[in-house]
Amino acid sequence: MAEPALSIRGLTKIYGNGFHALKGIDLDVAQGDFFALLGPNGAGKSTTLGIVCSLVQKTAGKVSVFGVDIDKDFARAKYHLGVVPQEFNFNQFEKVEDIIHAQAGYYGMPMREAKPRAERLLKDLGLWDKRKGSARMLSGGMKRRLMIARALMHRPKLLILDEPTAGVDIELRRSMWDYMRRINREEGTTIILTTHYLEEAESLCRNIAIINHGEIVQNTSVRGLLAQLNTETFLLDLARPVDKPPVIEGFEVQQVESNQLAISVKRGQKLNDAFTQLTEQGLSVVSMRNRANRLEEMFVSMVEDANGGGARVPPVRQIDSGEVAAKVETSHTGTGGRR
């Protein structure tokens, strides 16, 4: 196989204040991959990507981009990279098209080539009408798309997206996903993204790494990860409130609200068995959804494992507490029922 699009070995970062943000991580992203880097707030995702694109100075370790060691020829490595950072980083007072054209210029692209390219990207990303306005007049979602257009100007082979869809509405997010899928598939652009919307990782990415406290705790394919998922939790809305949770043979049941139960279903167990028992006890279920996105559940358990929490899949109550869970809750938006 060709060399990986991104290869990271023993990457360590200690910030100026002594904070140990990365503790020697290893990571490979194959050419053409669509790769997710997940982790709770402060895990070290942006730090990792920042080092790759020269915004952060590494403390130790090796990084190469398409086989080019950044210590040897950073300029050549950078040429392959397109970067969409987590925070807005364009001059708010400049015109949209000026921002895009200037970026092309920094990569040595002549204006006669930059103009049509900019037109295409701005049209693709729904910003063409805004091109003459100054960037501060864009909405938050438009600003993100501006950064995506900017990153694609020089046709990078590796696109790095740090929370590209943060603050983007559901409909737009889906159209951005389609767009990213398209450039991954049609142009063969390797894409690495970080996100807190686990649904995003699940529906877009082939491979995934989970990082926590500056360490990679899992690095596998999305499918492989889901296959590891042993338990799923469902929320059942009852027709009538109950005083205490019913006992259902073989299943762990908890009462969430007076008329809502949470039930954990292990792999191999049949949901039918639970329903049969509920019916026998005279309880009727009016609606059902899964507690969280499947990957979210996986993610929570993995991070808690790494934090020294015991159970692989935590009991329902634990999900409601803690920073990670809080984050996962917000990412639940738009996940609908079981998919």
Binding site: S54, L55, A75, P85, E87, N89, F90, M109
Partner: protein, 257 residues
């Protein structure tokens, strides 16, 4: 990057810098023109007529070169300092950092932008001065040479200031507490031959004195100090400061954590 690509990158940056200060001309081009016109009216015409001659020239003719130089110095410096700092502040410096553009191109782009602003304002001031006096230039090449080098030197200075600055106040400290006093004491308004011996010696430690004097020599043909030495010193300063600025950029000082 190929030389062609580097040229495009540099051109992009320079054009962007020029666009910036022309877009906000009421903040960048207008105020220095007004201030300098005031100086010409008050010091040159009104008071100057009472002062009589300085080094054998009318007071107006004596201060014109100094005032042009003063405008060039402050405008080159503050253009680069505020432009680069606001790029840092708005994080748009990251656009340059992630690109394959070499650091020297980034530095040169900002410096050339600052020079264009400084020299542009200098030209405006020169044109304004023509309303008050007839300028004659004794050594045109030297005059242009020294003003261009001075603009370069202070643009680099502004760049270093911006790299070190953490807040907007930090970019006004040097102009207020260093550049302005040194310029006033650099013989813009008087010939140092008027000073007692001790203060003449102290004045010789002021680098701006040399630039003003060489520039005035270009116009009038008289100088308090040796011209060749002064030019060599300016060039040496430029080389050293450019090296320092580049070294700071390579280290990511103030821009990379």
């Amino acid at each position: 990057m190929s030389p062609m690509q580097i040229a495009i990158a540099l051109w992009t940056l320079v054009v962007k810098e020029i666009k910036r200060f022309t877009r906000i001309w009421p903040q960048t081009l207008l105020p220095p023109s007004i201030t300098m016109t005031m100086y010409f009216i008050i010091f040159g015409s009104l008071i100057g007529s009472r002062i009589g001659h300085m080094d054998g020239f009318s007071y107006m003719d004596f201060i014109v070169p100094g005032l042009i130089m003063m405008a060039v110095i402050t405008n080159s410096y503050s253009n680069v300092a505020s432009s680069f700092f606001s790029n840092k502040f708005q994080r748009s410096v990251e656009e340059m950092m992630v690109s394959p553009m070499p650091n020297w191109v980034i530095l040169a782009g900002f410096v050339i932008g600052g020079m264009v602003r400084g020299l542009g304002v200098g030209l405006i001031v020169t044109l304004v001065s023509l309303l008050f006096t007839r300028l004659s230039v004794q050594h045109p090449l030297l005059t242009v040479g020294v003003v261009v080098l001075t603009a370069a030197l202070f643009s680099i200075g502004g760049f270093i200031n911006a790299l070190l600055a953490n807040k907007f106040d930090d970019i006004s400290i040097v102009p207020t507490f260093v550049l302005t006093p040194l310029t006033y004491l650099g013989g813009v308004f008087y010939s140092i031959s008027l000073l007692p011996g001790l203060w003449q010696g102290v004045s010789m430690l002021n680098p701006i004195l040399y630039m003003v004097n060489v520039f005035r020599y270009g116009f009038l043909g008289v100088s308090d100090i040796p011209v060749g030495l002064a030019m060599a010193a300016i060039v040496a300063f430029i080389v050293v400061l450019f090296g320092v600025a580049l070294w700071m950029l390579e280290r990511g000082q103030g821009i990379r954590s």
